[in-house]
Amino acid sequence: MLSVMSRNREEPVFNRIEEVRTAMGLSRQELADKVGVHYQTIGYLEREEYSPSLVLALRISEILKQEASELFSLTPFKKGR
């Protein structure tokens, strides 16, 4: 059976954006300005209600000085990582 990948809420991309962002002392607005998106979009990403494109994921990783694989995952991150 063919399964179709879709970017919806049922298949979230888990991330550590909020954890890393706050550790770096950045507000949502500041990160949004650096990445070039609206601050609400950062909120959607952090709540895992929106799965970013590859370009956006790489851009966020670069700004947060993380490898993309350390910041994004298809499985939930363990707490306290």
Partner: protein, 282 residues
Amino acid sequence: MSELQILGANAAVLALAYFFVYPRFGGDDVKRIGWLDLTIGLTTLGILAPFNWSSEDEFTLLPNWDVPWWIFAIVTYAVLEIPLFAIYFTRRGLWASYMDGVKEGFSSETWTTGASTKAVRKQLVDTKWDWIRKPRFMRNLVIAANLWMLFATIFLAQVGDNVWASLSILHMAVLFIFWFLLRTSVRLISEAGDEALDERMITERNQTYFKAYRTFTMIAAGLLTGFMIYVVTRDSSPGSDGFNYQFSLTWPQAQALFWFIWGYAFMLPSMLMAWKESRNSR
């Protein structure tokens, strides 16, 4: 009503607009003054309508040129407004801003996307209208817009040739207000082009348009099915030749049909986006 009474009503409304409403609520914001102007103009027409609706009187606009009341009201309103408008804009130094607005209004971007990049970017950082972006308000706004649309359409379809038919003007004004509030509640995202949005917003807008198109198709299918049922049932009525059909619509019925289709065509994307955001309750 006489010519003098309509002129007096127009002059009174314009004095109120230019000496109180625009300075108080419009200030130096050309776009806001434009919206206020349109709203006040329509309201004036709505106030005059019940007094003149069934009247056959002709009004002398120029020597040997008599026109119906509404043409007289609109033309004299515009003529009386020109000097007030010129003085207001000159005193406040708003001409450059006005010309920018005119250029923006006629730009191909505004016509192809519904909202210019400049307008969307302004809305994206706006906090002034946050009170209408609260989930409960958005949900109630969508419900109210739909209820109004249904109520007004049914009312205008039923109303006879009497003073109540003038409510079609009120219907137009109320729809205009709903359209404005709905698109503002979603920060114009539902009408914006790609260049004004980030990737999440583009995705949301695209999903909204997909749903809006399907919903609008269902509305159109409902109307057309009703039309076909009417046509088919007419075949069996006495005097029908089964080939030719005649329809008659009153002015309020034509208004109801026109604004029902246009209202949903313009408001559905914003309605669906506002509804979705209200349910996200963030």
